[in-house]
Symmetry: C2
Subunit: 450 residues, 2 copies
């Protein structure tokens, strides 16, 4: 049984020579490695990377998520980190550099040769969730007039280089560098060596613009079962290849980010290995906005203070109405957000959502209203109390279900992030409404309640 | 400009002959098709499937998500639906049948030949998020003593059949049917036709058990950049192949499901094309449990009714404390759930989470407590009121952050679904705590508040 524990790694790192470090690491799966490294102190993490030689350190970095790797690399001097970055695959380079502070990225790029640095800078300019941001910048391309035998020869000669390119297709360009055709690798075997690529290639190949969104890419791969799609820039020049697994992975990251944002983690990213202060600040920035929204909602209660004094038991039901309406609304928010992501609904189809949610809101409002009304009646023996809280919950549920269903669509069409903004806005509005309904209903039949 | 609107499709379907239906559909991308079909009535959906011939109907079904397809197919008589199901790819068959009512599945399988039905039944028995549940049951396998030329010949003869198999690897089994080797397709080209597969195959191939979890599969593919992994049953016989894109897709579905469950959609699945009653029932079942949890929490307020009567302004702050603590706690829940999914934390590492969250909870509690305390003080001009609500929020934030961080780990280790259960439990406990803190602090210094 090999000891794979973080403690064992800590012991190895505490030694001056750190004997057996490489062997220890080679026994871990990437997941175990990520888990173990997240248990090290900042100092130990630095020691780990600097003790390993550059290719081994790069291999470690490749196993980690972008955020974890960025965190680890930021701790090294730029001269060291640039060497490691240089050794990792270009897709991962971009993923990691995107997660680092701008200043750190600049320092690292300055250590690289101008050509390499310029290439990376170009790739960093693409938005993350576009074809340009998701593509692998390496591909194998030839000219139209190249012969089959030349290509086979080139593939043979450069096999070590191409091995890492994930080559499934060969791309063909004309004299201006524009993409004009595509070939599957095995097409080469079935044609005489003297033929031009132009004569055997598939012309007008499917391709996608560098600015195409993740949604577009997902649509493309759901329609075409390809192993990759070429990406072209504004001049129709081939700049990279997007692989279907990258698209799937990016979609998953997107839903994870949505989930975290929806729960109030701004930026959709937090690991417990991040520094305490940065975690605290991120969470607080969202909470402190929320507290002011809460004050707005609570001011409705303050306005009806007299009614509340007269029927103090209502104070018991206010948080319940607030919580229940929030829950009903959030269910509708989640369904809308999912349908938006899957492309099953578009942001202008608000009327459709209203027509679907209003009935559901009324049915669920009726059910919950009756339930809460009965609870209040049985608890306090006053049917009017039951009527007030039951009706208030009923109306407020209907409002919050409809509002929750529409909010993501509205926010999306005004270019706000539905995941981050829906829930606070929903809660504030439904709280205000709910408090108003309970307390105004109560004011109307105050004599029956006291 | 082609009219691709749902209205156009409705017009076509309203005709007796539905001329141009096939053409209309062939102009839509899969996403547009899914979107358009979701706009049809149940009757129109049935007409759509029955008007198309079986292969075309199957092609339509292939484009839809499992839930949408299941919904559509359930509307047809079993004799019709079994024909369509038979025509779609075996992966998709399973995905769709899993989403259908058991009774409907039984009826459909009875219409099929016993062998086909038995095969499907076998596949349905695997848990959805395991290698068995995610594998493609088709693959190309040969015997160890087969010759290279025989294999090449078989590939040529059956190319139409294999074309749909996504063949990247050929598998090799011994006389007992056990998986003993693997070959890449192009390995065949570089060996003489008379050689045995046994002599050119890669022995002891990587493989995965049919019961392996989605997490294990994700780990496997993050470690090995393969185009697929063979799946073996308990007797080490090859039963299928899992593709990396299936694993990515399943992971994404898992996070989507988590997101919906977290928002109170039981089962993690709802589309607005589902019948109103089933949507309402699903949402209600979660809400009605929540209402009882709310009653528990609110009973704390009822217990302190006298204090509240004396200082009615406290009623304004109770929903705020409840909402703010809930938000702080949910942030921690989301981070824990993400770290659990990514395998960065294990369910027994509660102490680690506590040690990470307790400081964050104290810092954020301090910040929010001071903020709310100041708001209360400025609003009502009573420093003691500020002290009571500020301290209560401070303590309660710390509690809810720590609890929120730990809950998913605790729930997971007792085999409850953290996505579904974390939030209601968290809210109930932090509400009770929050109400108790505010009202008991207030009781202690009641004289200063009135």
């Amino acid at each position: 049984m090999i000891d794979k524990s973080p403690e064992k790694l800590k012991t190895i790192l505490a030694e001056t020579e750190s004997v057996g470090l490489k062997e220890f690491i080679s026994n871990l799966s990437p997941l175990e490695l990520a888990h173990t490294i997240s248990r090290l102190s900042l100092h130990e993490q630095n020691k780990l990377l600097t003790t390993l030689n550059t290719p081994d350190a790069a291999a470690v970095i490749e196993c980690l998520t972008g955020a974890q790797a960025a965190n680890l690399i930021s701790g090294l001097p730029p001269a060291e980190s640039s060497k490691i970055i240089y050794k990792i695959s270009s897709r991962k380079q971009i993923v990691i550099l995107r997660k680092m502070a701008e200043r750190d990225v600049k320092a690292i790029l300055e250590q690289m040769t101008p050509v390499v640095a310029e290439n990376i800078r170009k790739l960093l300019k693409y938005d993350p969730d576009t074809a340009g941001g998701l593509m692998v910048p390496e591909f194998v391309a030839y000219e139209e007039q190249d012969h089959v035998s030349q290509v086979l020869n080139d593939l043979q000669v450069n096999r070590d280089k191409y091995k890492n390119y994930n080559v499934q297709y060969l791309y063909v360009k004309n004299e201006n560098g524009k993409l004009t055709g595509v070939l599957r690798l095995h097409d080469l075997f079935f044609h005489p060596g003297g033929m031009n690529l132009k004569d055997i290639m598939i012309t007008q190949p499917h391709c996608i613009k560098a600015t195409a969104s993740l949604g577009k890419l997902r649509e493309f791969f759901s329609e075409h079962k390809f192993f990759g799609v070429p990406v072209i820039d504004s001049e129709k020049k081939l700049v990279g290849v997007v692989l279907p697994q990258t698209v799937e992975k990016a979609s998953q990251k997107q839903s994870e980010r949505q989930f975290l944002e929806f729960s109030g983690i701004i930026g959709g990213d937090e690991f417990r290995t991040m520094p305490l202060i940065s975690r605290s600040r991120r969470r607080l920035s969202w909470l402190s906005i929320n507290i002011f929204l809460n004050v707005c909602a609570a001011s409705v209660i303050a306005y009806y203070q007299d009614t509340l004094s007269a029927v103090i038991i209502l104070a018991v039901f206010l948080p319940m109405i607030s919580d229940m309406s929030g829950c009903s609304g959030n269910q509708a928010v989640a369904v809308s957000m999912r349908e938006l992501t899957l492309g099953l609904i578009r942001s202008k189809e608000i009327l459709r959502v209203v027509s679907k949610e209003v009935w559901l809101g009324l049915i669920n409002g009726l059910a919950l209203g009756i339930l809460l009304g009965l609870i209040a009646f049985i608890w306090k023996g006053n049917p009017y109390l039951g009527l007030v809280v039951g009706c208030a919950l009923m109306v407020n549920t209907a409002i919050s279900v409809v509002l929750g269903g529409c909010l993501p669509l509205i926010l999306k069409s005004v270019k706000l992030d539905p995941a981050l903004v829906s829930s606070p806005i929903l809660t504030t509005i439904t709280d205000m409404c709910g408090f108003f309904l309970v307390l105004s209903f109560a004011s109307i039949i105050l004599s029956k309640l006291t």
